[in-house]
């Protein structure tokens, strides 16, 4: 049976000065390669690296990270953040990533989805969607609006319509991030996740809000999500991948056993 996937999101900072900062729980979030290895050994199903490098002249840092990760871990991983062109996609895929995730750039230039799918295949193209709940209007009938720039810029685009359009353009998967739920540790936005999963036929990764394993259970049992993205739950060592999977298996959710 196809397993529900647990995906861990890792931030990659271009600014070397943040490297080595120890956060609570002794996780060095400055070394994505070491973290990736640790999660791989714990049995995570997939990883996403998000490039939060501010300036474009530091793009080679993410490429180095991708190359190092690819040498050490043998599960699929995606890279997102700052990918604006076919060249950017090629560089990341060629360095060893399985998939690339595009978000703001795809909203501003939807043709990028189609071009990426044509050149590299739909299976490589993950559409990242940042979504905010708003009042229902004729323009935003679902009551969920697409926002970009980390949630700061509302685009006046309906989230359900955008998801359908992106699927038509060739997106192979959608990583659906609720800006309202993100960082709250209060659980995924289930209404939004259901809406997008029901409106599309490509795999949906739920993102934003996971704080405890029950949240993953909810999103898998109550929505059509195929995968769940987690970050702080594991980064701060509150949970291991093994513990989350053991809980989900006990609740009857198909997950890849760690053996």
């Amino acid at each position: 049976m196809l397993s529900k996937r647990i995906i861990i999101c890792l931030d990659v900072r271009g600014d070397k000065t943040t490297k080595g900062i120890k956060f609570k729980g002794n996780i060095d979030i400055g070394d994505p390669v070491a973290m990736a290895k640790q999660y791989y050994e714990q049995g995570v199903d997939e990883l996403v690296f998000y490039d939060i490098t501010a300036s474009s002249d530091k793009r080679d840092i993410i490429i180095d990270v991708v190359k190092n990760v690819a040498k050490n871990i043998f599960i699929p991983f995606a890279v997102g953040g700052g990918i604006r062109s076919l060249d950017d996609m090629y560089n990341v895929l060629n360095a060893g990533a399985e998939k690339i995730s595009i978000n703001s750039a795809a909203v501003l230039n939807p043709g990028l989805i189609a071009d990426g799918a044509r050149f590299f295949g739909s299976q490589c193209i993950v559409l990242g969607m940042d979504v905010k709940g708003v009042k229902k209007t004729p323009k935003i009938p679902s009551g969920y609006e697409i926002v970009i720039n980390g949630g700061r810029t509302p685009m006046g685009i309906d989230a359900v319509q955008w998801a359908k359009k992106a699927q038509g353009l060739g997106a192979g998967e959608i990583c659906l991030n609720s800006i309202d739920a993100d960082g709250t540790n209060q659980g995924y936005e289930l209404t939004l996740t259901s809406m997008i999963a029901d409106a599309t036929s490509i795999p949906i990764i739920a993102s934003g809000g996971a704080g405890v394993p029950e949240h993953l259970k909810d999103v898998f049992l109550k929505t059509g999500a195929d995968a769940a993205l987690i970050a702080s739950m594991v980064h701060y060592r509150r949970y291991t991948v093994g513990r989350i999977k053991a809980y989900l298996a006990k609740e009857g959710i198909p997950v890849r056993e760690i053996i």
Binding site: S3, K4, F74, L93, N94, G96, Q123, E257, I259
Partner: protein, 204 residues
């Protein structure tokens, strides 16, 4: 030395990296002398059948494959490399390599998401050296919209269920081919690649 056949289809470097990690000597090539001289051949691939076959024929890679298989060199197909060793693919109605009788079919549009993407089980139909040390509970990483459907039952080594039950490992004689990506399937995927590197091409 294992030759990883380069036919400009997708991420060949991931197979190369996995073998290097296992200290298994390999090279990515489409040079006929190098391929003929190699101890084993891996035929990977991601992408569309039509475009892949076009490139294979234009570069005469089909002839090299027939020759290297005929001299009993162990051969491992992966993903698209598994689909196009069959007679034909429903993807762009493509005539393929006809190394194993059968066709690649598209998953039915019946309430399942396409592509089949993620980790899934395999059920083993018959033992094979590449399955040595593989835990029966192990899952493997799949990403595909078409699946291999070999004509002869004995060519199916393992099956997987997703909407339909399909052949996820096929093979006969010195040929073995997986629909999933062993190079992306964690430790059991690596185990399978290691098993292949030790295989002499015979099935008892």
């Amino acid at each position: 030395m294992i030759s990883i056949i380069n036919y400009k289809a997708g991420n060949l470097t991931s197979v190369e990296r996995a073998l290097k990690h296992l200290d298994i000597p390999c090279r990515v090539t489409n040079n006929s002398e190098e391929i003929m001289a190699s101890s084993k051949v891996i035929f990977p691939g991601v992408g569309a059948a039509g475009k892949a076959m076009e490139f294979i024929r234009s570069e005469n890679i089909d002839k090299i494959l027939y020759d290297v298989i005929a001299k009993n060199t162990p051969f491992l197909g992966i993903c698209l490399g598994t689909q196009i060793i069959l007679d034909k693919s429903e993807e762009n109605d493509t005539s393929c390599l006809k190394i194993i009788p059968g066709i690649s079919k598209r998953f039915p549009d019946s309430g399942i998401k396409i592509p089949h993407m993620g980790w899934n089980n395999i059920s083993i139909n018959r033992p094979h050296p590449i399955l040595s040390g593989i835990d029966p509970r192990a899952q493997f990483y799949f990403v595909h919209s078409f699946y291999p459907d070999p004509e002869r039952e004995e060519d199916t080594i393992a099956t997987t269920h997703y909407g339909v039950t399909f052949a996820s490992i096929i093979g006969r004689k010195n040929i073995v081919a997986t629909q999933f990506h062993p190079e992306k399937s964690g430790r059991y995927g690596l185990q399978m690649l290691k098993n292949f590197s030790k295989w002499d091409g015979y099935v008892k």
